[in-house]
């Protein structure tokens, strides 16, 4: 090091040395006098101390600069040993070396630019750089040395070295913070590592990091490293605006001090004094105008600018780190929610890039389809699970999706390897990726359970409806039977009595007239009963509301579902969507539909040579009324079409003959019409119309 330093300062010393040599050479020459003058001038004005000693080591000369460098008056040094200018611990070394040189000519130190420690008159040691030479005068050796106070330079060097050390430390600090923030850890772990880095690299006694919580009203201590590591102490929660930390958060300004013990922001000064705390630095952790937390550190050493700068830098990236971590956590949480939701709802999702047939499945979808998780999904693979009866539906769907680019929704079944059937409901949304390529994002729900429970529900509902229908019908039938049977019985009795008397040739015209009058009266009475029933039905309290006729058809089909299935009938609906709403009593409309459906089903019971199909169609008539048709492939109307709606007309073995009559009454009460027509070649169609609700027209 000293070699290097010597080289670095060579020009300066060279001048002084050469001057001294020149001076001594000249003194030996003629112009000695002027030389000596020059020499004296040089020596007396030099800022370095110049000391000459004899071969005894006693000072024979000291220049005026000795006063500024060593604090001695030049004259008081004459005759004193040179060693008085050096610390005690060096004196022996010096004397040994000097004696050896005198005896052997061996130099124990470099004479040019050697750094040594010197001693001022006031006892202060200081670094000097020494260069010296010897000359012999009158047979005696004289040694002259130039002593330069290099304590300032040394300080600068130390400062430089410290600064360089600090830079190294700070870059290590930054690196560590960066690593800490990129670690896959929870937020507390990450912040703990950051606080640790502050302690290790920024000379903090301890460092803490709080994050903002509780809707921005409170700071929560997340990490504490160094002297204090507890997170549940009195500083674990600090309301924003309270104490120095809370104020940093509120004002969003750093708080820096190298005089903790007199800083008004530091509340516990006794503690600071006791613990020798000197400095405090606190920075708000702010990201894009948003406060995410506060970082703070106490130090027993003053804060350097570099430290403050490093802490400020760290605050910035820690803020980003917290925010990123939170975003990641939120994302992970929402992904977890999504996965959990999918699992609970038995909903899977997938994306399908049409151009490349690249398909991505969610885990739940693998589970639903019972494929090994991670198996590459292809349309072909999916196809292997589709129920054979739904394959054409599936292929049509795929084809349409390829061509269309429209959202689609469909239901299909899966046939699992164990022969069980799953019901799927898929809803797909068409999107375009950045490249404009068609991609479907879809959710598929396993609706098997829902489907099965719906079926069970429908079954029990339909059974219940059947029971209550039967009960109602039974009661009504009993009442009607009694009321109508009375006059019918009377008519029959009277007619039979007449026939008997006639057979015995015993029927008197007067008797016959009277009896016929009775018969007519009873017939009239029977029809009055029917009229009363119809009037009752018309007057029955109706709750009219605006209805979608298709909904009511579906409900009636659900009610009749059990019966339809049991009798091997297939119901085919062709319902026109977007029909205007009608105004009707839901229950009565259900009754009419149920009646027509059951009639159709029953009409096909005896048919064996053709499928039992019940078509139900809804549409709009030219008149603007809503039209509903129920068509069967049954035995048809035959010759009795005109009597169908007559009360008590029935072609059934167990029928009251009231259904169609009542149905017509109900439809007419709603302002509609009900009629029947024969189909070619088989079956009958029952049609009815209902007027559109007033608002439905607009």
């Amino acid at each position: 090091m000293s070699e290097k330093k010597a080289a670095a300062i060579k020009p300066e010393r060279y001048v002084a040395q050469r001057t001294a040599e020149l001076a001594s050479r000249r003194s030996a020459e003629e112009d000695l006098r002027s030389s000596e003058e020059n020499y004296r001038l040089l020596v007396e004005t030099a800022s370095d101390a110049i000391v000459s000693i004899d071969d005894k080591g006693s000072i024979v000369f000291a220049n005026p600069a000795i006063a500024t460098v060593f604090g001695y008056d030049p004259t008081e040094l004459i005759g004193k040993p040179l060693t008085c200018l050096m610390p005690e611990y060096m004196r022996e070394l010096h004397e040994g070396g000097f004696t050896r040189y005198l005896a052997t000519g061996q130099r124990h130190i470099n004479w040019q630019g050697t750094e040594l420690t010197a001693l001022r008159k006031n006892g202060e040691e200081f670094p000097v750089e020494i260069s010296f030479g010897e000359l012999t005068r009158d047979g005696h050796k004289i040694f002259t040395g130039f002593l330069r106070d290099i304590s300032k330079r040394k300080q600068a060097e130390v400062a430089l070295r410290t600064a360089m050390d600090e830079r190294t430390r700070i870059s290590a600090f930054r690196e560590e913070i960066g690593i800490a923030l990129s670690r896959q850890e929870d937020l507390k772990g990450i912040l703990h590592n950051c606080a640790g880095a502050v302690v290790r690299h920024l000379d903090a006694a301890f460092a803490r990091i709080w994050t903002i919580g509780c809707e921005g009203r409170e700071l929560e201590l997340q990490a504490s490293a160094g002297k204090y590591t507890r997170l549940d102490g009195s500083h674990s929660r600090i309301p924003v605006g309270q104490h120095k930390i809370g104020l940093i958060a509120q004002e969003r300004r750093p708080h820096l001090t190298n005089d903790v013990q007199n800083d008004p922001g530091v509340s516990d000064k006794d503690w600071a004094r006791r613990e020798n705390m000197v400095a405090f630095a606190g920075y708000p952790l702010v990201l894009e105008d948003r406060l995410v937390g506060v970082i703070g550190m106490f130090s027993q050493k003053p804060l350097s600018e570099n430290t403050v700068e490093a802490l400020s830098f760290a605050a910035g990236i820690i803020a980003q780190g917290i925010e990123r971590k939170r975003t990641e956590d939120a994302l992970r949480r929402s992904e977890a929610f999504l996965a959990e939701g999918q699992r609970l709802g038995q909903i899977g999702s997938y994306s399908w890039r049409v151009a490349t047939d690249e398909i991505k499945w969610s885990n739940e979808l693998y589970r639903i389809y019972e494929f090994e998780p991670g198996v590459p999904v292809t349309l072909e693979l999916i196809r292997t699970r589709v129920h054979p009866q739904d394959l054409s539906l599936y292929e049509t769907m795929v084809q349409n999706a390829r061509n269309g680019g429209h959202n689609f929704e469909c239901q299909f079944r899966l046939l699992m390897p164990d022969r069980s059937i799953k019901y799927m409901h898929a809803v797909a949304q068409a999107t375009r990726d950045q490249g404009g390529q068609l991609e479907y994002i879809a959710v598929i729900q396993d609706v098997t359970e829902r489907r099965l429970s719906e079926e069970a529900l429908e079954r029990s509902r339909s059974e219940l409806a059947q029971v209550s229908k039967l009960t109602n019908m039974g009661e009504m039938a009993a009442s009607i039977a009694h009321e109508v049977n009375q006059p019918l019985t009377a008519v029959t009795n009277n007619g039979n009595a007449c026939l008997r008397l006639l057979a015995n040739h015993n029927l008197e015209p007067e008797v016959l007239r009277r009896v016929l009058e009775e018969i007519v009266a009873d017939g009239t009475r029977a029809s009055a009963v029917i009229a009363r029933i119809r009037a009752f039905l018309k007057k029955a309290p109706v709750e009219q509301s605006e209805l979608d006729v298709n909904e009511v058809i579906s409900e009636a089909l659900a009610l009749a579902g059990h019966e339809i299935q049991n009798r091997g009938v297939v119901a085919e609906c062709r319902l026109t969507k977007t029909l205007p709403r009608i105004r009707a009593d839901r229950i009565q409309l259900q009754q009419v539909l149920l009646n027509l459906i059951m009639n159709g089903v029953e009409a096909m019971t005896g048919v064996t040579d053709r499928p039992h199909i019940l078509w139900i169609h809804s549409g709009l008539e030219e008149s603007g009324d809503v039209l509903v048709e129920v068509r069967d492939s049954g035995t048809g109307l035959g010759s009795e079409a005109d009597r169908l709606f007559t009360p008590f007309f029935t072609t059934k073995t167990k029928g009251m003959g009231m259904g169609l009559s009542i149905s017509r009454s109900l439809v007419e009460a709603h302002g509609g019409r009900l009629w029947a027509s024969s189909n070619a070649p088989h079956g009958a169609t029952f049609s009815f119309t209902l007027p559109v609700a007033a608002e439905g027209l607009s």
Binding site: N485, A490, N493, N494, D522
Partner: protein, 211 residues
């Protein structure tokens, strides 16, 4: 008590006038006397004739059920055969009626011949019942004409005891028993011991029922 040339009566209880009228006309064609009532109360007010009769009863009457009335009649000891007619019958209803002793359960409208056949069966049954009742009544009258001692002896005779045993039981002479016994047989108009036993059994039956 109403008396007439023909003491056979068919009673009709139905709350429907047309039914009453038509039934009266129909049943009249076979030469039976028909009397109609619009309610069970009015029927009960009528003193029933001492002739063969039956009742045609509507199941569903205003205010009460014909089936309940059937029970009421039985409780009152009125044993008139009943033919039920109903607008809407079901099996439990008909079972109940038949268990209660009804002759027939007809659903309106019924075939005229079914009704007339049922009436015929009912009349026969009532006639048989009346004859039996008359026999019992006569036997009772004869039994009542016996002296207490004769009644005592007769009771022991039909229980199978010999004259000697009866004499021992009553503490009298066997000959005295013989005298009581032959006088009682005469008064009872019994042709044989077996005839006497049959008569006493009928009386016991009736007494048992009355109990």
């Amino acid at each position: 008590m109403t008396t007439g040339k023909n003491s056979s009566f068919v009673f009709v209880v139905d709350d429907d006038a047309a039914i009453r009228s038509s039934l009266k006309f129909l049943i009249g064609t076979v030469g039976l006397q028909v009397e109609t009532f619009e309610s069970t109360e009015s029927f009960l007010k009528r003193d029933l004739p001492d002739g063969v009769s039956c009742l045609i009863l509507d199941v569903r009457l205003q205010g009460r059920s014909g089936l309940d009335f059937q029970h009421e009649l039985a409780a009152r000891g009125i044993h008139i055969p009943i033919i039920f007619i109903t607008g809407h019958g079901d099996i439990p209803m008909s079972v109940r009626a038949m268990k209660g002793g009804a002759i027939e359960f007809l659903t309106k409208p019924f075939r005229d011949q079914d009704l007339l056949d049922a009436i015929s069966v009912a009349m026969d049954k009532d006639r048989a019942r009346r004859e039996q009742e008359r026999d019992v009544k006569e036997a009772q009258g004869r039994f009542d004409s016996l002296s207490p001692r004769e009644q005592e002896v007769i009771s022991l005779v039909v229980s199978g005891m010999l004259n000697k045993q009866i004499a021992d039981a009553l503490g009298t002479a066997e000959n005295t028993v013989k005298v009581h016994r032959s006088r009682a047989m005469e008064k009872m108009q019994a042709q044989s011991l077996a005839d006497l036993v049959r008569m006493i059994e009928k009386l016991k039956d009736r007494a048992g029922k009355a109990l």
